[in-house]
Symmetry: C2
Subunit: 191 residues, 2 copies
């Protein structure tokens, strides 16, 4: 998606260790006009698919997912991060290993909000190693819900999550796929 790629080139900052900071428009300060265009693009890509609910993960997925749900005309549920072991009977729980920090945390969703009849679109801001998507897929599996696919804003295609998950059969629509960002120069896969 050219609009997002251009915005990454304008406002993104590449830091040491393959870190791309996009907190000017995506995950700290957020641009709802950009999110609306992203949502319309996912709507176009998933046209004809029977999505009835959006599932995302706290915190930086929430804004994007909320505007995407608006465009899809459906509710959105966010998985909550929790540091305490949660084995309550009224929630689904999955562990997520953060490759950035090395820490593992649990994410939970109330059973009431993920149903076997749900056909989910998973939304998140980044895809790198796929840990967050793994967590959302595990929650969906526990609920018996169908996952139609995933919508990702920025995929770091030089990391392995996207390839691994697509091979496992997940449809993933990433609006910007970064091939490399060596020497602070960002190269997209479609360049």
């Amino acid at each position: 998606m050219k609009l997002l790629e251009e915005r990454i080139l304008t406002d993104g900052v590449v830091k040491e260790g393959n870190i791309l900071k996009v907190d000017r428009f995506l995950n700290h300060q957020m641009d709802p006009a950009l999110f609306l265009e992203m949502a319309k693009e996912w709507k176009r890509l998933y046209e004809g698919c029977p999505v009835n609910k959006i599932l995302t993960i706290e915190a930086s997925g929430i804004g994007i997912a909320c505007i995407t749900a608006q465009v899809f005309g459906c509710p959105v549920v966010f998985a909550k991060k929790t540091k305490t072991k949660n084995i309550a009977s009224d929630v689904y729980t999955a562990s997520v290993m953060s490759y950035t920090t090395g820490n593992t945390y649990d994410v939970i969703v109330s059973r009431e909000f993920l149903l076997p009849t749900d056909r989910l679109l998973l939304i998140d801001d980044f895809l790198a190693n796929g840990a967050a998507l793994d967590g959302l897929l595990e929650l969906s599996r526990q609920a018996g819900a169908e996952v139609i696919g995933a919508g990702i804003a920025i995929e770091k295609a030089f990391q392995r999550g996207g390839e691994r998950l697509r091979r496992a059969g997940l449809r993933i629509e990433s609006l910007a796929r970064i091939q490399s960002m060596e020497g602070r120069r960002i190269v997209f896969c479609d360049d």
Copy 2:
């Protein structure tokens, strides 16, 4: 706002200890169509006010604030919760005391995203004791930004935050103000 009050009566659940669960539509599962109507109401209430940025707090304020920013045609920034003391020079930091858990946590905002020229609308899902608003006001004060007012979805008017902050001069527009919820019966201030 009748639409929100009716939704609280339909889908809200009153629990022991004056707790109102609205996670079916507001802060776990979220209804973007409702959020759009709430945003339009704040836009009407703050008509003519020079709001140029929305400020909210992680996590349950983000969805509401994002759609509100869409209606106001401005960016939105969310204050991030952090458990680690953050004294980095590039962020503003405020402490927030959660009355629910008794814990204190810090919220941070990058200095880059709060400017002395900003005219802020603060958005959050709940107002009870006002701890979250206190934190957002403190961040705004550090930045030298002007606070135009606050937009709250649900105010527990039987707790003291709203009265205290209005007395201190803050304009607060709460879309549903709850006078009492004894015996699980919810009474709104305008009933």
